[in-house]
Amino acid sequence: MDTKELIFKLTENYGVSGDEFPACKTAANILSEYAKTEIDHFGNVIGYVGEVDKSKKTLLLDAHIDEIGLIVTYISDDGFLKVSNCGGIDRRLLLAQEVTVLGRKNISGVITSTPPHLEADDTKTPEIDNIYIDTGYTKEQLEEFVSLGDRIVFPAKAVILNCDQITGKSLDDRSGVAVILKTLEILKGKDLPVNLAVLFSSQEETGERGAKTAAFKIAPDYAVAIDVSFALTADDKPHKCGKLGKGPMIGVAPSLSRKMSDKFISLAKEENIPYQIEVMNGQTGTNADAIGVSGCGVKTVTLSIPLKYMHTPVEVISISDIENSAKLLAAFVEKGVE
């Protein structure tokens, strides 16, 4: 499975938090080649690789399937949509941005921006409350196509930026989904020392809710949350970021299993896989936080893919980071988790 094509495919369909089905379907289809797969009522894709052996511990690999977006809250008399955010939108990019309204049919729109003569202060970013979506339709027409609660997305099809880099929307965290699928490809047909469960979780961006319910259901002993993390950009601090193209970022944090972190590090060295260490000083801001305290507790670690410009339609990742993450994760599953 070509990594670039896999990313293109996984990001093609939308899956804004709470409305992940289109994205789930694509991911579940691919996952079903490797695992018994279901989509549960919470919008989680859950898969079990092989038969469950009760004498073995269970390892869960998680990546979230949802992406950030907007949600329709009101249709104004003159045919503009008012919205709220689903997940942490970067308000700096809203003005005059192109969007697609996912109504009964997909509708193109533009976020309103106020011309200079009406702006007392154009050095400020707009509040979500003060923007509208311009679709060109009247209120009556909109009421036919659009319901309150419909999602709105930034329609940025993934493309190659340069050589090994891909830019597009929802690389956070379809990249993680891709890493898991690539891992399963490597492990196919192999005897594993653990029962392997896979979760493509819903509603991470709105509070790690899918991972919470699914982890309860799966009840794993160990878990790896595969998400994206900050790749250094010119205006950020090197000590807070990894670097794009320099390999997976292994999480080390008080809330994570240090044994699992150490195992990842030693495996990366053994297998000659480039890696970076991501130190966090408490919780991680990923599904690891919810999974780690599921049931009686789950030993959890994070594996992160460096990504630039998070939560924008111009996110950037490196294909080599995805492939190296998959290699490392496959070694981890195969050679014991701690």
Partner: protein, 340 residues
């Protein structure tokens, strides 16, 4: 269809001073239809012959250039510093795809993740000073192989329909005017008319100034796009003009107090010909009329504009029927002026 040609024109790239793609397209369209010349500025001056009558000397103009950015520096990490060419609110550039240089290399404009911003930073718009374009290079050496200082940077924005009435695209300002002029050149006109496709409007009305001097007309019509603020957050006169209410004819803007005779004539003709027509409810903006009307001993000038939302952004939005009506009004206005 004029709207199909507008789509083609908007998808061409031509920031001020680099109007080549647009100029080449125009020349291809008109070369068998009329005499034309390209002046030292890069303006295309087309001399369209009328069917018979001799009338007043009229110049109709529209500008070929669009707003965009220019590469000013290559950072050590391979990202590009840019400056705006023309007036752009930096807030409509952030978080976008752009095209860099002649080869139209893909680039993206982002910054550190929203998660890593302080509360103050979240509320603060990104400025051009703090902005950079990422073309996927990791060093200056790598970037220098692809990009040169002074390369143009364009919005990457598809031309699409919005709803039943509207279109969205970059550069509607002022390819709409270019499309109207091309249509008129293809048609039979009763009087001789000189059409000036001008350069460098967005950086200070520079092409039109020389074109007007060269052509030396008695009358001029400028076909433009102008800011409409008919959005829910604006009311009353703040809306300036509105989509769907026809061409915009101004009495005054920041650069021109328009000739009263032509202003009245435009509304008169609109009324007689059942063309909706509106004026701007604020003295705002400016266009090539500012340069043209004070050329030589002064030229009687009118501006007929297409009301456009989100002007100077990658997502300009205009009304298809308004566009058609801009054409209709310019047609009757030019005939009427020539027959004076």
């Amino acid at each position: 269809m004029m709207i199909d040609e507008l789509e083609k024109l908007c998808n061409l790239n031509g920031t001020s001073g680099s109007e080549d793609e647009v100029r080449d397209y125009i020349i291809n369209q008109i070369k068998n239809l009329c005499e034309y010349r390209i002046d030292n500025m890069g303006n295309v001056i087309a001399y369209k012959k009328g069917t018979c009558k001799v009338g007043k000397k009229l110049m109709i103009s529209a500008h070929m250039d669009e707003v965009g950015m220019i590469v000013t520096y290559i950072n050590d990490d391979g990202t590009l510093k840019i400056a705006p060419v023309g007036g752009i609110d930096p807030r409509v550039v952030f978080g976008r795809r752009v095209r860099v240089g002649k080869e139209k290399r893909l680039g993206v404009i982002g910054s550190k993740a929203v998660h890593n911003l302080s509360k103050e930073e979240r509320d603060k718009a990104v400025t051009f000073e703090g902005m950079y374009v990422d073309i996927g290079c990791t060093s200056r050496e790598e970037a220098e192989k692809i990009v040169s200082l002074g390369d143009n940077v364009y919005f990457d924005s598809d031309f699409v329909r919005l709803g039943d009435r509207l279109v969205k695209g970059k550069a509607i300002d002022d390819r709409a005017g270019v499309a109207v002029m091309l249509r008129m050149i293809r048609e039979e006109l009763p009087y001789d008319v000189t059409f000036a496709f001008v350069v460098q409007e967005e950086i200070g009305l520079r092409g039109s100034r020389c074109a007007a001097f060269e052509v030396d007309p008695e009358y001029a019509i400028v076909i433009e796009s102008t800011t409409a603020a008919d959005i829910p957050s604006a009311s009353g006169s703040d809306r300036v003009c509105e989509l769907g209410k026809g061409p915009v004819v101004s009495f005054m803007d920041r650069s021109t107090i328009y000739n009263k005779e032509l202003y009245d004539l435009a509304f008169d003709l609109a009324d007689k010909n059942n063309i909706p027509c509106q004026t701007k409810t604020r003295v705002a903006g400016g266009n090539d009329a500012g340069a043209i009307h004070i050329t030589r001993g002064g030229i009687k000038t009118a501006a007929v504009s297409l009301a456009t939302r989100y002007l100077h952004s990658p997502s300009c939005v205009a009304d298809i029927q308004d566009f058609e009506n801009v054409y209709k009004l310019v047609r009757v206005l030019s005939d009427s002026i020539c027959s004076k």
